[in-house]
């Protein structure tokens, strides 16, 4: 086997590249698995034709788990709307979203946050976020789903904790 000749400068270049990429890999790993900047996970599988018969899904919307602290939000995407279209949650609470589709693929992205999930019929995606600031956050469909796709959006109203439920 003849040996591999690599230019001195190129060796240095490759070493720097590898160190840099290793650093990136560690940083995103730590952010993801230790600090909670995590990608969506699978909550359950569900037959999209039978969503209405599933007790979890027959009445989508906001559920209070611990008042002021923990909330769950169930959202169904279908052509070309989200159910519910408007959601109210208090600021400072941990909100866990469960999102699925009744028909074809959609997307669910909340503007100005890192909430983003591919909405796949048959699968329920789970993702969490804490809205620190009161305000209005639009969520939009980010996957092509037919002619009405561009009009498919909804609104999360984040209210100060003392106003929530009034």
């Amino acid at each position: 086997m003849s040996s591999l000749h690599i230019d001195r400068h190129e060796k240095r270049w490759i070493t720097i590249s590898m160190v840099l990429l290793a650093a990136f890999a560690v940083l995103i790993g730590v952010a993801g698995f230790a600090l909670g900047v995590q990608v969506p996970t699978l909550e359950q599988k569900v037959d999209p034709a039978k969503l209405d018969q599933d007790p979890k899904w027959s009445n989508p919307g906001v559920r209070e788990i611990v008042p002021g602290k923990k909330y769950e939000v169930y959202i169904i995407a279908q052509t070309w709307q989200f159910t519910p279209r408007e959601i109210v949650v208090p600021a400072g609470a941990k909100v866990t979203f469960y999102v699925t589709s009744r028909d074809i693929q959609h997307g669910f992205k909340v503007l100005n946050t890192d909430l983003n999930v591919q909405v796949i019929p048959g699968y329920v995606g789970k993702l969490s976020y804490t809205f620190d600031q009161p305000g209005e956050y639009k969520f939009i469909c980010t996957e092509y789903c037919g002619l009405g796709h561009a009009a498919m959006f909804g609104m999360i109203k984040v209210v100060p904790p003392e106003e929530f439920g009034q």
Binding site: E10, S17, V39, K45, I104, Q105, F153
Partner: protein, 552 residues
């Protein structure tokens, strides 16, 4: 200087057919790209196009643009260019020219079949054709024929290389032929995924033979193909940057050893990376997504090796041309030669495409940009600039070589590549910014009710980029048509400028010319990276029945 080998008229014609189909697809598909950009800017031509029966909707236009530009222009140009590299590189005809011709015409039949349904607005499913949106089954059959036809052309390359190796024991395979076969190998590993999706899921389901299919599983097979597809676009451009550009710029290839090593690393690493398109898919476990993120980041290494070798080769060329000092060599390069300028400008924007690619691949940073305008912003720097401008640069010498005519309108060709560069820089920068603000991709933003007023400046810049690109692309088409059919007959054959390496090619280690270990490694890595997730998905499938409605 005389060419060391000349292709026969039949061979030239055969390659010419590939380029003709590619450029025709570009001519049609590129009409719709700017139409989308104009829609963003608020100049919506789609109602008019509908009235004129040109396109029924934004999405039919988008499907045409995606399929014709990203799939047809690339695949046909690549198979044509690689065929040239095989014959010219090995200095012998293809072993079975009829086999390659059969593969080519199968691709054409597949293309025509799929195109009929897209043009009839029956398959406006975009170029990812995600189920359970459903096109009629002949559309999927067309895609299968297109892919299998390209495989057959690849088999033709393998037979030819095998015979050459038998006749030339111990001799290193000439780089352009080696790299062309490597590109085809990568393509065949990649397209296995989409072949499984289409043959075992989409076709039987669209024919009504099975009731439902699992959507997450279909996506997983698609993205097994979808990302290495981009390396299939890129590697032929790398062939040109490594093997042609240094000589076209007046120099030599700095390190043939590293060039070959880069290609092997691409074969090894570029397929098991698909989950980085599925970071926000619910059905794939985070651990596996992270592993694919790491594998994707490792593909950056051969890309950075390529950057080093290509820049070193260009520096050598620039200094030989009299360039002095730290950056003088760069200014001394022939920026007024359309063949060279196209590739240099493509390479410059590709650096930014690479930076963006690292962001895309970085697991949780992908949360910000998945399915936003950032993504088309990114791949318009890569496939639509680095790859496409390089292919245009190649066509400026290859088409005259094939047709025996002179490159028509050299000045226009030069203007065209600079316009493309400027248009794409404006367009792509605005798209990246829109994506960071949350603008979705694949959406007629000009009609979306949720667009904040602050985005209007960026949307306008997308439209301005579109105008410049519209002009540039039809200048290119015009130049191609004239060069192919009407330009002045050349007095002598175009000189094929394959760069010499700085060191003797025989000094390249033998293991860099041996296929088996690398192929075994690539398949093993693919199996490890996909098997557990596929077993998990297949054992828990949720069959989804097609909604049975035409949604476009």
């Amino acid at each position: 200087m005389q060419n060391e080998y000349t292709l026969t008229r039949a061979e030239k014609r055969f390659i010419g057919w590939h380029i003709l189909v590619a450029v025709s697809a570009l001519a049609i598909g590129s009409f719709f790209g700017p139409m989308q950009a104009f829609n963003y800017a608020g100049w919506n031509f789609y109602p008019k196009l509908r009235e004129l029966h040109i396109a029924q909707s934004y999405y039919q236009g988008l499907t045409l643009h995606g399929v014709l530009n990203a799939v047809v222009w690339t695949t046909f140009f690549i198979t044509g260019f690689l065929t040239f590299n095989m014959i010219y590189g090995l200095k012998r005809p293809l072993k079975y020219p009829k086999l390659n011709a059969f593969g080519f015409w199968m691709m054409v039949v597949g293309l025509v079949l799929a195109a009929i349904y897209i043009l009839a607005n029956k398959a406006s499913v975009l170029y990812t054709f995600y189920p359970p949106m459903q096109a009629p089954w002949p559309f999927y059959l067309g895609l299968v024929l297109l892919v299998v036809g390209s495989w057959i052309e690849g088999y033709g390359f393998y037979f030819t290389l095998h015979q050459w190796k038998k006749d030339n024991p111990g001799v290193r395979t000439p780089f352009i032929a080696f790299a062309s076969v490597a590109t085809m190998v990568l393509w065949q590993l990649a397209t296995l995924g989409v072949a499984i999706e289409t043959l075992f899921m989409l076709l039987p389901w669209s024919m009504g033979l099975v009731k439902g299919i699992d959507i997450q599983l279909a996506r997983t097979f698609f993205w097994w193909f979808g990302h290495p597809l981009v390396y299939f676009w890129l590697l032929p451009a790398y062939i040109s940057w490594y093997a042609y550009l240094p000589r076209q710029a007046g120099g030599k290839l700095y390190s043939e050893t590293m060039a070959r090593l880069a290609f092997w690393l691409f074969i090894l690493l570029s397929v098991p990376v698909g989950f980085h398109h599925q970071f926000v898919d619910p059905g794939v476990a985070p651990g596996w997504k992270y592993i694919h993120a790491l594998l994707t980041l490792s593909v950056v290494i051969p890309s950075l090796m390529t950057l080093f070798t290509v820049v070193a080769s260009l520096e050598y060329a620039g200094r030989k041309r009299g360039g002095k000092g730290l950056m003088g060599w760069l200014a001394a390069l022939p920026w007024n030669d359309p063949v060279v300028a196209a590739q240099l400008l493509g390479g410059i924007l590709f650096i930014f495409g690479g930076f963006g690619g690292i962001v895309n691949a970085s697991y949780n940073t992908n949360l910000i940009l998945h399915n936003t305008a950032w993504v088309p912003g990114h791949f318009h720097l890569t496939v639509s600039t680095a790859v496409t401008l390089t292919f245009m640069g190649i066509s400026f010498w290859l088409v005259p070589y094939l047709t025996g005519r002179e490159l028509c309108c050299r000045k226009a060709a030069l203007w065209m590549v600079y316009l493309w560069f400027i248009g794409m820089a404006i367009f792509s920068q605005a798209m990246h910014s829109l994506g960071l603000l949350g603008a979705p991709r694949r959406t007629p933003l000009g009609e979306a009710p949720y667009i904040p007023a602050e985005w209007s400046g960026l949307l306008l810049r997308v439209g301005i980029g579109g105008i410049i690109l519209f002009i540039a692309v039809y200048m290119y088409i015009w130049i191609m048509v004239h060069t192919a059919f009407f330009a002045k007959k050349a007095t002598k054959e175009v000189e094929v400028q394959v760069a010499e390496a700085m060191t003797d090619v025989q000094l390249v280690p033998e293991w860099l010319d041996a296929w088996k270990p690398w192929l075994v490694g690539a398949v093993a890595l693919l199996v490890v990276a996909y098997t557990p997730v596929l077993i998990d998905l297949i054992s828990g499938m949720v069959p989804v029945v097609a909604p049975g409605m035409k949604l476009w």
